[in-house]
Subunit: 217 residues, 4 copies
DNA sequence: AATGAATGAGCCTTCATTCAT
DNA sequence: GATGAATGAAGGCTCATTCAT
């Protein structure tokens, strides 16, 4: 109740705005000047509240992670005993929801993509911790779906196939060059989800079949 | 024969080195200083030969495109009348070969990825022209594989599923955070190819089946 | 009786800590941040209590002067009628004691040295008042030792010779480059005193002799 | 003949001016802005020519050392076999000449004093090398003058007594607080030299005598 | 034709100080 | 009376570019 503590308000504002700027421009191109201008703060505020641009970046990431985790758990709320196909669907759905969430989460997605393709080295630890945690759900579902013959490598490749579809397709739908090229409907998240689920289940079935008859390769 | 014109040699050297630096650091973090140091040239050479950093970047891209196209055509040399499954396999193979080519072509891949995920806006035109051209082969193969019921959107989504697997999996195998996380064998390009082909054929079959019974969704 | 006023405690703590920081880093390199951190105070406390960094600096100096004067009078407690040689020895002893006092007084010495060699201009008045006062004892002793033929200039030069030995030798024994170079024993203050006394008495005798036979130069 | 190479002129100007500014303000208070303003250069010139402020500082020091060494050798041109008293006089003379040289050398003296009393840590290596070299002449002369009974420590203390007189007296004559206080004639370098020589010879004689009769202490 | 020298704009950061409570 | 929050000014440095030769 009542207005927030004075200091916290500025700090939150900075985190909010900095999240947007980092997501838009990437860490290196985001400047104190722009962040502070948009947050209506002095250029020294970042260093005052976060010690440095790096400190701000890390704080932004942590905050985005927390918000997102709470909102879109990657198990979709399903118990570990649920049908693995349903859990796969839930995972894909959650991934796409995270990406297309209009609020904070697309920022997280952007920042993660940038870190994966052009790392700053500043989020190494929290990012890999996060990614490791995110994998658990899908890896478990995949093990069940692929059956006991699947090696860890088989599982990982299938995981990459699925996550790659989510990340890349989302990028294609939403941004830049590819979007212009493909002329896809950015709003049809549901349709996209169904596509990826169907495609992936087919892919998984195919891999499973292949494992049963390895001679054919 | 006679010695090569001195100016041309410097220019080529710059293109060569700049390709590496742009690929390693991205456009924004690549500096005149580093490029010229590694090319043993004066810092003014870039502007002298290419007018600006932007000019150099564009020239580098064009040159990489040319070299790569000649080396790894995306139809794999197959005629348009060949078996569509074979053409799909050829496409995936060529994509992965381009990515894993130890020479120049991984540079092209890096630059394309960076442009897709963090566009500079400088390659908009040549990049989208290139991507449009690259699509043709796979889109044709997919149309045949998915059958006449597939809408253009279905085809595009499948295309994205396949390309997404290639791009993202390659990234996962080769670089940074994800590689550390997954502990995959970076050399097994052949195994990766077979995985993506098998997974994709399964995925395509699943989508085709789904188109025949649309009520199920 | 009764607990000390809270404000006074903070103020004293600030004076104490600021003395150390000014002595260690010099006025210019001493920062509000460091002083207040080490004094467990808010960064605004300095300006609140002392108006400005300058005000704090002056207050620190005054306080150090007071403490030191009480502890190590430069006449060594000897009456003005005592043997001038004894008074000279007492002066040198007191100077060195001030410098090597492990508590507060080496701070005063450091600050004076820094002001002499790299003046801030902020202590001009109190410092020159202090130095003028400090001179009195040795100047009087020197006049007696040099005899009536000595001009004021002769006296001053001898004074400088003696004080110079104290200040510089002390610096050499205790700090940085010179100490490393000379490898002297930092604890032998007594030995150093005896050296300077002996050297100076010899020097004074030589000057006195020279005054009697000015033709020789 | 003819005007100097273009680049070298700016570089020399910067060294020249920077020497003055470093000597006047000390390393920390000397700013790019002031140096470049006075050298009529852009603020980026320092980093262009010397890499950094530190680089400039080091270059300034080296240059001052070189010029000074050539102009005022501390042996005064005397052979090592000359009368030790003459060599002592030559040493003191050279030291004072270096300090009072109106051209570059007082800059060197200022910088050395600042480094000794408030080190930046940037000249540690060249400074201590230089000081070690400077000592040689006087140490040799002192060994002869003090006789075989003198321990290395005795020699060092006498050295400090002499150098201390030179440094401190010079400071007193020339700068700030002390000068105002003492009202000495800044131009009488010759008189000062004679004073320090006479005082020191007397001091040395006294120490030598003391070594012969150690019981008296 | 080619390059060493120079620069203006902008970046992150630090600091003493002031403000609002 | 005392302090957490905020700031304007300035600092060293980097960089793509331009200039003079």
């Amino acid at each position: 109740m009542g207005k927030p503590i004075r200091g916290q308000a500025t700090k939150d504002k900075l985190l909010e705005i900095a999240g947007s700027v980092f997501a838009e421009k990437g860490y290196r191109d985001a400047t104190h000047a722009e962040i502070c201008r948009r947050a209506h703060t002095n250029a020294a505020a970042i260093n005052y509240h976060f010690g440095s641009k790096e400190g701000l970046y890390r704080a932004v990431f942590e905050r985005l992670i927390q918000k997102t985790e709470a909102l879109y758990p990657l198990d979709g709320g399903l118990p570990a005993t649920a049908d693995p196909e349903a859990r796969l669907r839930a995972f894909i759905q959650a991934r796409l929801n995270r990406i297309f969430d209009p609020d904070n989460h697309e920022k997280l997605h952007r920042i993660c993509m940038l870190e994966i393709f052009d790392p700053t080295g500043l989020l190494m630890e929290p990012l890999s911790r996060q990614l490791a945690k995110d994998r658990e759900h899908i890896v478990r579902a995949l093990r069940e779906l692929l059956g006991p013959q699947a090696s860890p490598e088989d599982v990982t490749w299938c995981e990459m196939s699925i996550v790659g579809q989510c990340f890349f397709t989302a990028q294609g739908i939403r941004d830049g060059v590819i979007r212009t090229l493909l002329n896809l409907n950015a709003d049809d998240v549901k349709g996209l989800t169904e596509h990826i689920v169907a495609f992936s289940l087919g892919g998984i079935a195919s891999i499973r079949e292949r494992l049963r008859r390895p001679a054919e390769t």
